[in-house]
Symmetry: C2
Subunit: 139 residues, 2 copies
DNA sequence: CTTGACCCTATAGTGGCTAGAGGGTGCAGC
DNA sequence: GCTGCACCCTCTAGCCACTATAGGGTCAAG
């Protein structure tokens, strides 16, 4: 009996909101194991693959790098292990995200300041261009 | 008389807080014009180059893409032009930055929620791993 | 058989750098 | 003049996470 839960790559893509080329990419870099093939050389994915790919995509959506996801997958497979390592990964990632937010907020403030200095006119009187041209270079 | 303001690439790099390889990269992609060379094939940069590179670096620091900077440079060279185009570039960039901040804040909230659900223990009881494994996949 | 939807591999590209290999130049000190 | 060190040069490939494209095969309905 043909296993009804085996998926072709397009089905898996639809089921997980992933592009087909991205699935192939993940296989290439070893993040997703290569599945068995049909007689026609089509990939045949099981539920296990679908679950793993969903995990990957959720983690990506949360901004984890592929290497971090690799680590999370390894941790998740080790069911007897203490989950402090997972906590540490999430914590450090959260810190990075918060740092990035702070950076962007500083950047946004400066852009707003520049915008507010603009009074219209021509380029040779442009306060924005002036700001980009004349402030001391930050190291 | 040798022009005292001519800089070697290392000097220009130091003066503008840019890496040498980055200066060469900008020249390669046409963002910074190729300077004249010494007899020994060293690049000889003028004040004009330094000013242009400073402009580029300030714009990069504000998160503008190289293509946007290309556009800003063109606008800044057209001194009789109305500066509304500059304003528009800055505005749309600010919107992008604000959108990115909002995205990251949503992401940070979710990571915090995940962290707070963690009660320690082993992986098979790990709420973080559960969250990554079981939520409905977002399209 | 034909056709259209789907699948396959391989390669190169995106953006903004960055690293490294292999070789040349300039100048101070001996 | 020679040496050694700091600097310069070109070229190529790589980083990260995809993404596009070329060229060809498979499958199933009509």
């Amino acid at each position: 009996m043909t296993e009804p839960s085996l998926l072709r790559i397009g089905d898996l893509a639809a089921a997980t909101g992933t592009k087909i080329v991205t699935i192939r990419y993940y296989e290439k870099i070893g993040l997703l194991p290569a599945p068995p093939r049909t007689g026609g050389n089509y990939r045949a994915y099981s539920t296990t693959h679908r679950e793993r790919l969903s995990f990957i995509r959720r983690s990506r959506a949360l901004g984890f790098t592929l290497d971090e996801i690799r680590e999370l997958l390894e941790l998740s497979a080790d069911t007897e292990r203490d989950c402090a390592a997972v906590d540490r990964l999430v914590t450090s990632h959260l810190v990075e995200v918060e740092d990035k937010i702070a950076d962007l907020q500083r950047l946004a403030s400066e852009l707003r300041r520049m915008k507010e200095s603009c009074r219209g006119g021509t380029i040779d009187d442009c306060r924005i261009i002036e700001a980009l041209s004349s402030q001391p270079t930050l190291p």
